[in-house]
């Protein structure tokens, strides 16, 4: 059984005892990371983005992100968002899941920034609260359009980022960073971190399972905190041992302090076409944006 299969075993999905909030949190984080970071199912689908050179994909998404940030009109941002949905469709992603994943988190994060702007920006009053102590709160039209613009920008940017991550294996995404002149040593360290993050999550999950299998009844908050402290210490020890072992494994294969990597991507005509279309689309919508007053 592979590690991935092992961590997706039904036992891992069983709910810890009520009150075991730390265990639930760690299990939740592990599950979310596995689903979103380590899953390669979407990246293996035969869609348009999956078949595009990762470097081209990275640069194209960055161009679209820049266009989203520079656009001044809501309709233009919505146009980019619709383009991201079209790309998701062409990449054979499940649209409802894709959209839900993006928009469920945004109200929480976006509201913190967007809600104050509803009341603070001057403009025509749309709704107002009754006077209270000589003051009243009013929602203005410019406040609403500013909040809508903010949420649209965040939603579109997150969608574009999600498209890149979902349709590209992490290994390829990391290598693609070379096109942005990210130093090779940084890319290799990121790759190793990503690799062992999974192993560490796997170990953490197993330690929780092992504890659950030996625990009868409920444990107090104090006991749980004490155990988490011990778990953290053990994991730090294991990480240090592992990093030492990995360094030895690198030395034994000839590592002499300078990382050398392999550039294996080769852009094809269809990749150049994709990049061209992304650039033309971004330039086009920005021209339209500037012509709208």
């Amino acid at each position: 059984m592979t590690e991935l299969a092992a961590t997706q075993h039904p036992a891992h999905k069983s709910r810890p005892a009520p009150g075991a909030f730390v265990a639930r949190t760690v299990t939740g984080i592990t599950g979310a990371l596995e689903r979103n970071v380590f899953s390669v199912e979407n990246a293996r689908l035969p869609g348009v983005l999956q078949q595009t050179d990762p470097r081209v994909k990275l640069v194209s998404i960055l161009i679209l992100l820049a266009a989203t940030s520079l656009a001044r009109h809501l309709l233009v941002v919505i146009a980019v968002y619709l383009a991201s949905l079209l790309l998701a469709r062409l990449s054979r992603l499940h649209l409802p899941t894709f959209a839900r994943g993006v928009w469920l988190g945004i109200p929480l994060l976006g509201a913190v920034v967007a809600i104050p702007s509803l009341f603070l920006l001057p403009g025509h009053t749309l709704i107002a609260t009754p006077e209270f102590g000589g003051m009243r709160l009013a929602v203005t039209d410019s406040g609403v359009s500013s909040a809508a613009m903010l949420l649209a920008r965040v939603g579109t940017s997150v969608s574009l980022g999600a498209l890149l991550i979902l349709t590209t294996r992490w290994a390829d995404l990391l290598k693609a960073l070379q096109v942005l002149h990210v130093p090779a040593v940084f890319i290799v360290v990121l790759g190793i971190t990503y690799r062992y993050l999974f192993l560490l999550l796997h170990t953490t999950n197993n330690m929780f399972l092992s504890r659950t299998s030996r625990t009868v009844g409920q444990t107090s908050g104090f006991e749980q905190r004490r155990w988490i402290g011990a778990l953290t210490g053990t994991l730090v020890g294991k990480s240090l041992k592992m990093s030492d072992d990995v360094y030895q494994a690198m030395l034994s294969r000839g590592f002499a302090g300078e990382i050398r990597t392999f550039a294996s991507f080769r852009a094809r005509d269809q990749d150049r076409l994709f990049l061209g279309l992304a650039a033309v689309f971004a330039a086009g919508i920005l021209l339209v944006d500037r012509s709208m007053m």
Partner: protein
Amino acid sequence: MTRRDCPPIFRLEGVSYSYLGRYPALQDVNLTICQGEKVVILGANGCGKSTLLKILDGLYPPSAGRIEAFGEDLSRVGDDPAQSQRLHRRVGFVFQDADIQLFSPTVWDDVAFGPLQMGWEQDEVRRRVQEALRLMDVEDLADRAPYELSGGEKKRAAIATALAIDPEVLLLDEPTANLDPRTKAVLVELIARLGEMGKSVVTTTQELEIVPSIAGRVIVFGDKERRPIAEGDADTILDDTDLLVRANLIHQHLHLHGRRAHSHQHSHAGDHDHH
């Protein structure tokens, strides 16, 4: 050819090693390993087998004694990147835990790591990676991430990472541990084939059933002595039940009779005759 006139690859004289200066792992080891030899280091848990391989690979400096590899003193190899690279161009090491060996995002990247560090041209790197993947029959796993592999697949990929450098010597640390019988058989066959290709292969194990297939010479380490207590060909060593019991490689009530696995269905503490 006797041991005295064989061209030595490794020569250890009075080598000892202790962890943190307090926990002895090896004590006064004297050993010579020759070119083209297929050596099996047989010993129980904690007898110092893995430590010995790390000393042979220049990863640990001996706490006492002297080690030479290919005629070069290895006592300062940790401070000399050029010597380290020279040594690792000729010696490949497969760790017991394949997860340690497979540290890159994909199998292909892992296999290419060694050749890239040697500074070879990209076409040469590509050719060597392809050859190593083919030898270990893992070509179809090249694009997979290590966490997507089974235990046996990981082990084969790990051996491919060492083979990609085409080393003269291969150090294998318990290569068949925790594998199912079929995967174990495939690996034993692969290790035997590496020996036939002319490589020197040093394998540590405590699994007696694989020894006859991969050993030209067997060195038995005592788990209390932490040094070799016997050596000979596979037949001589495996037929010496007293030696195997003493080295904690078999138990009085669960062991081999000749080449056949044999288990007594009782657990009394007293000695009895083993006809």
